[in-house]
Symmetry: C3
Subunit: 218 residues, 3 copies
């Protein structure tokens, strides 16, 4: 039990750190923001998913404000990105890797936290996926991109896959560190495959353009 | 009493379904999203208003996560839109009709739920209108449109009108199924009139453009 | 004690009023919205920060819906802006002054409320700053501007400075009306200096543009 919750906090803080790196580096790329902008967008990306989860679960105030380590780690990640951004992106090749890592870790922790608050496996899976995609969605809305969760088929799907593994394992009583890591790896692998091979789920058949335009007129 | 709450859940789930159709069809029109994008935007539109309401009321976790039917209906609406989108839009002529229907149903249920949680008629009216416009506002922010509630005069007004009828009826103790349906019809009729005749409330007098531009400089 | 909470509510309602003016005038400038749009954006700007604070603190329903004066003052500010907008902007020269005033008042009240709910000085400072920047951030997201908190270095910084003064004073037990006003003035002065002299915190070093573009590809 102690081991499980130690694992959980390690995964949470690691996820917070990598999401913070991604958000801060996004701020440096996309908008040429100053230090404060980089820190703010890094922290929003790092902490957004967990805050949304805790609000929906009703676990208020969110863990972010109950445990100082969340704020400290999020702040540290943004500062690291600000100072070492050029080096980090050269080593990692793509800041999407940080996002994929955060996605994988947060679908595991989000589902576990929801389950611990008494949600059934179906709801816990949805809440886990919301935790995983929440921070990146806030990031995208704030910098005025269409959120990745809408445009990239393999963003919600790996989050749901990882979350479902955790939810089933918890429901069957076979949750362990190995299961947690396996779920994170499954999510990470699907996300990476999607990024590398530009895989997607079926596209909606486009409707007649003229119709579509008319429909959108208010 | 049982009848009232049965009515409430029927109106809620119907509203969820039509908002889900609208959100999913919007995703298919506006952004050529894939299946996951369509489902995500459909579910956000369908469930967003109720989730905002439950957060503001403090009824956490939101009904969306306490009652599996909300998630199921929202998911179903998005799948129906994905499969039958072309047919649906041909029959309905405008996807705004779905939005108007959701608006009408959610202003009724949102006000009722707020009243049941002890809010006075004024606050219940505001919360009912927020429930009604919330899902569409989230939809618009996510796909980067200026929200309908800002640009279309007769969007907040019919929601407030329907909500006020319910709040007054509940306050006077004369709430009934007939009142609920009447309020929904009033809201729907005002919204449709606004859409059809392009009715609007008074425009703000434009200020001198040069001034305005200067003021907006940060 | 009575005096302190009377002071708090006066500062809150004054902050609500000036943020409402700013939001409503922004709506009139930026988007040529009608009366309803002006009122909605004014109220969102006025009430958004406090609502976010109360959700994060877990003080639900938010003060906005527990005390009718918030809704009334926010509504009044939007109506005043709609009626007297041209006159107001001529006298004040820049609607950013209203925003700066709201920022200064809300960092004081947000921190005080967070402290009263048992948060430590560090968390109370963060929550105070979130209260201060929240309404303007919602306003910017809704009208599709990159939020001021990201682009203007001296927006979060003055809010954090004012909030920190209050948090330290409360922690040391030396909080008084004079301290509250001093913190607000410090915040206001820093914000104004930033606006007037276009001061900023250090810019992130731009990375190689080609790299950056590749990284952003999903």
């Amino acid at each position: 039990m102690v081991a499980t919750s130690t694992l959980l906090i390690i995964l949470e803080l690691t996820g917070t750190f990598v999401f913070g790196l991604n958000g801060a580096l996004t701020a440096m790329d996309a908008e040429q923001l100053d230090l404060v902008g980089v820190v703010v967008l890094g922290m929003l990306t790092a902490l957004g998913g967990g805050i949304i989860r805790d609000i929906l679960i009703g676990a208020l105030p969110p863990a972010t404000f109950r445990d100082w380590r969340y704020l400290a780690v999020a702040l540290a990640s943004a500062v690291v990105a600000f100072v070492a951004g050029r080096y980090l992106t050269r080593v990692m090749r793509s800041i999407n890797l940080f996002d994929a890592a955060g996605l994988s870790l947060f679908c595991v922790t989000g589902t576990s936290v929801a389950f611990a608050h008494g949600f059934g496996p179906f709801q816990a899976t949805i809440l886990g996926a919301i935790t995983a995609v929440g921070g990146g969605t806030i990031r995208d809305v704030i910098i005025r991109r269409v959120p990745t969760v809408l445009t990239s088929g393999l963003y919600a799907v790996p989050a749901l896959a990882g979350a479902a593994i955790i939810a089933v394992a918890l429901d069957l009583g076979i949750y362990s560190t190995a299961v947690a890591l396996a779920a994170a790896i499954v999510c990470f692998a699907i996300r990476l495959a999607g990024l590398r091979y530009d895989l997607n789920v079926p596209l909606a058949r486009p409707r007649n353009n003229k119709e579509a335009t008319e429909d959108l007129d208010p």
